[in-house]
Subunit: 522 residues, 2 copies
């Protein structure tokens, strides 16, 4: 396998001469209908409003080939050590419940496909038992609420998925999430909660995450304070952790589900980290549909031809925007209220994976890597920050997400159209307004255009389509990491803050700067 920096690639040098494609003049019916690729059935990626010519697409294909992007994806699937910083395999694709190849992957003396499969079966039987009241609370009442306690990857992905499906897959048990070490977070979530009917899921791979252990204690104290006769808190906690963690050895919990070091937190939504809470609330069948969707997107991402592989095309256009056109950010704009927390999940997925200043060998690089990712659902954003997107002094590349059908059936008709029709009319209008702009004698009312965008369009946001959407982004971001020659699977950047926080908690009198800041906050 060849690992070399982006700026060494011949195809990249070719790309640098191609900076002046005006989307404004190029949008036609033909381009709109042909510049699109299916991700899976009922989900397409359309890049007609991206600033790419056939010549640029050819160079992007060459760059993908030269950086051996798809070959590296196959190395991941074969269980090679693709997280070199931590010397680990990258196995989250195995959590989809189906394998993409027949090679058996054995790590730490354990056959991994079987391991993840066994956890999936455990999730199935456990969620079935809870939902059917074979497992109930310690005072004899069935569970009706699940509260997941976790932070970062143990929070954002599962919560984004839960919120995405809350309308369409009507949960039998409601889910809530506690993440922040700020005591006001737990306090708010616990307000009005009936402990007798609540099951808590502690999620921490290491079993040592400060926030999660602190919040566990807050919950334990609150249960104790409630002094409910017959209440045994150990019957109200399960854990998702690694086999070697202190949490795994707990005696005061009902059950434990395992993940391992080969599933990065931000890539763990399809493991037990997301699986337990989603199966408890929506039923295992819904979780399986998410996995099925993710698996299908994983398959479609294997195609080395960028014109047939939406995740690869999305990735390569992102490289062009970042390293040739030098745009430092991307906005993710789902026209679906159900995806309200999906941008926050993508923000982590992208910025934590590819916000790196050294290559996979720990050497300096001379090019930009991951962009800042932000976003809010449309049409809300239209009434907020879109002003800058339309008329600010800088161009922000946009990624829209839309669906032909809403999740609910009973839409209302006002002024001759449904809400969903209005939503999508706005979405289509925005793409064209951004790309084409509008001249006006009054410059305050003129729009320069050439504000580039792509759009992912689904038939409807179902569990399966959601799984495909999730995997599309996971694979896209992984592909970009390959092009940038990064390790997208570690996160050394979060360590220094943790170290210094512990120093503050220990007093830090020997560090005048740290001490001064800590004092301001006392």
């Amino acid at each position: 396998m060849k690992y070399s920096n982006l700026t060494k690639a011949e195809a990249f040098k070719n790309l640098l001469s191609d900076k002046h494609f005006n989307v404004k003049d190029k949008l036609t019916k033909d381009r709109i209908n042909s510049f699109q690729i299916p991700i899976v059935e009922n989900l397409i990626y359309n890049y007609a409003a991206m600033p790419v010519s056939e010549k640029i697409l050819k160079d992007l294909q060459d760059l993908s080939d030269e950086q051996e992007v798809i070959k590296k994806y196959r190395e991941i699937l074969l269980g090679k050590v693709m997280n070199p910083g931590e010397q680990r395999q990258v196995l989250h694709h195995l959590t989809r419940g189906k394998v993409l190849n027949k090679a058996k992957i054995e790590v730490d003396g354990e056959e991994k496909e079987g391991f993840y499969q066994s956890q999936l079966e455990k999730i199935q039987s456990f969620s079935f038992a809870v939902r059917n009241h074979a497992i109930i609370g310690s005072t004899g009442k069935p569970f009706d609420t699940v509260i997941q306690i976790g932070i970062g990857g143990s929070d954002l992905g599962p919560e984004a998925l839960y919120m995405a499906l809350e309308r369409i897959a009507s949960p039998s048990l409601k889910a809530k999430f506690i993440s922040n070490v700020d005591p006001d977070d737990a306090s708010k979530v616990l307000d009005g909660v009936d402990f007798e009917t609540t099951l808590f899921i502690l999620v921490s791979k290491s079993g040592t995450t400060l926030e999660t252990l602190t919040n566990k204690q807050i919950v334990m104290d609150a249960i104790k304070d409630a002094a409910i006769p017959g209440m045994d808190s150990s019957k109200h906690f399960v854990a998702v952790t690694s086999k070697t963690s202190p949490l795994a050895a707990s005696t005061d919990i009902l059950d434990v589900f395992f993940i391992d070091d080969y599933i990065g937190g931000r890539y763990s939504s399809t493991s037990a980290v997301g699986g337990v809470v989603l199966s408890l609330t929506f039923g295992f069948k819904v979780f399986k549909e998410i996995l099925e969707g993710a698996h299908e997107a994983d398959i479609s991402a294997l195609n080395p031809n960028i014109k047939e592989n939406a995740s690869l095309m999305d990735a390569m256009i992102g490289i062009y925007l970042r390293n040739v056109l030098n745009y430092p950010y991307t906005a993710v704009l789902p026209y679906s209220q159900a995806l309200t927390r999906f941008p926050a999940h993508l923000q982590q997925l992208d910025m934590e994976s590819n916000g790196k200043h050294v290559n996979r060998f720990g050497k300096s690089i001379d090019y930009s890597t991951g962009p800042v990712v932000f976003g809010e659902p449309g049409t809300n954003g239209q009434h907020s920050f879109y002003q800058l997107l339309h008329q600010g002094t800088d161009i922000v590349p946009l990624q829209f997400i839309g669906f032909k059908y809403s999740q609910i059936e009973n839409d209302v008709i006002t002024k001759g159209s449904t809400s969903q029709t209005k939503l999508n009319a706005n979405l289509a209008a925005q793409i064209v307004a951004f790309a084409r702009g509008q001249e006006d004698k009054n410059k305050n009312k003129s729009f320069e255009g050439n504000r580039v965008s792509s759009i992912i369009i689904g038939r409807q946001l179902t569990p399966k389509i959601l799984g495909s959407l999730l995997a599309h982004y996971e694979n896209k971001i992984m592909f970009q990491g390959f092009v940038w020659n990064l390790n997208s699977f570690d996160q050394e950047g979060v360590q220094l803050g943790k170290k210094l926080a512990n120093k503050v908690l220990d007093g830090c009198e020997d560090d005048e700067v740290l001490y001064s800041y800590a004092s301001l906050l006392k």
Copy 2:
């Protein structure tokens, strides 16, 4: 009054030679303790970790003077037409319930201080009547839920403030918010709502906002479908709108509260737009405290000396970051879960106000204006996108917000410290980790430092402090608009999308590009 472009200012030219201040080497106890300014009592702005020398601060003072920033603020307060695009006054400072000067401002034949004061009194008596059951639902039950239907400025600010105070000011009535035209939004919010005890607030200045009218209809239909005996929906709606709007003339609502064209949506949180919902839920006294805090911050923002005016200093440092150091974004990172939606409000406030490509006279400009603003609460962000902030290839300026005390009293002690202590230890640690970095032989574990930040520190997030925080940002953003010579009070950039959306709804067969995109979404 002198209005000239940034790049014409002598002081700006001086600033351009000052690009190489290393915060990394300059942080000392003295700097940390002296580079700070009170905003109001119990709220300070500290800029020790910003890349500014005394020379740069002197130039920023000169620039503020040269652009007549504070003089222009006084013009606003005197009721001059400071929104030239729409030829309007800018009067949101008058909504604080106290005036900053004695000049009577008369517009459209109406004395404005008295007008806003009368609305405030109306909010007081109405909220008192609802909270004391003098006004009840049409079936005879007291109201226990308020649902605000509005979008953009009619949603983000009020919702951010409501969430910020939900823990500390325990609402007697619960509030919910419907904004998106996506029918899944209303559907989710209405799920489980008891219409008999719910009061809806329709908020639209023009009374014609598509999303808001559509959502009103969805609610009306849902009430009708519920077929509750004796239910009269007209007794469950109030409106916040302008006197001339169609909503104001409605006969099917309980009451109406007025705003006017001189309060921009994103600056309207302290008007009836925020006042009705916050007074109904928390009581008028709490809303008055918010106003009092905002008023005090408005006063402290009048000082022309940047070293004594935190909002001005924050603004001027922002100009330096944007136009001298060329940073295209700013992250807002509140270490307070209660401020979870505050970044979304600031995103609108900032990006909609200053995301402009022409100056206040509609002429082209040759410098960058408003940055992209994004953020999530810490410590959550630490486990997500902070990787890029620490080790990405680009520097993202940071604005932290922290509080000495949490909102709740009963914090838990684990491993020898409270959650709040841990939260703040993390906050202090992050500032130092970003600024100072850390060398390591393993470059993957090294941090370059010089990642600049400021922090706003409050004693506790009370209603009054929240009001001050809100006004600090409103004034800061207004000041930056003055320096950039912009009109921060219009939003022409949102018009083209609206126009094209209507075209799509009308069929748009004559526009092949629009038609093609619209077809993809059908």
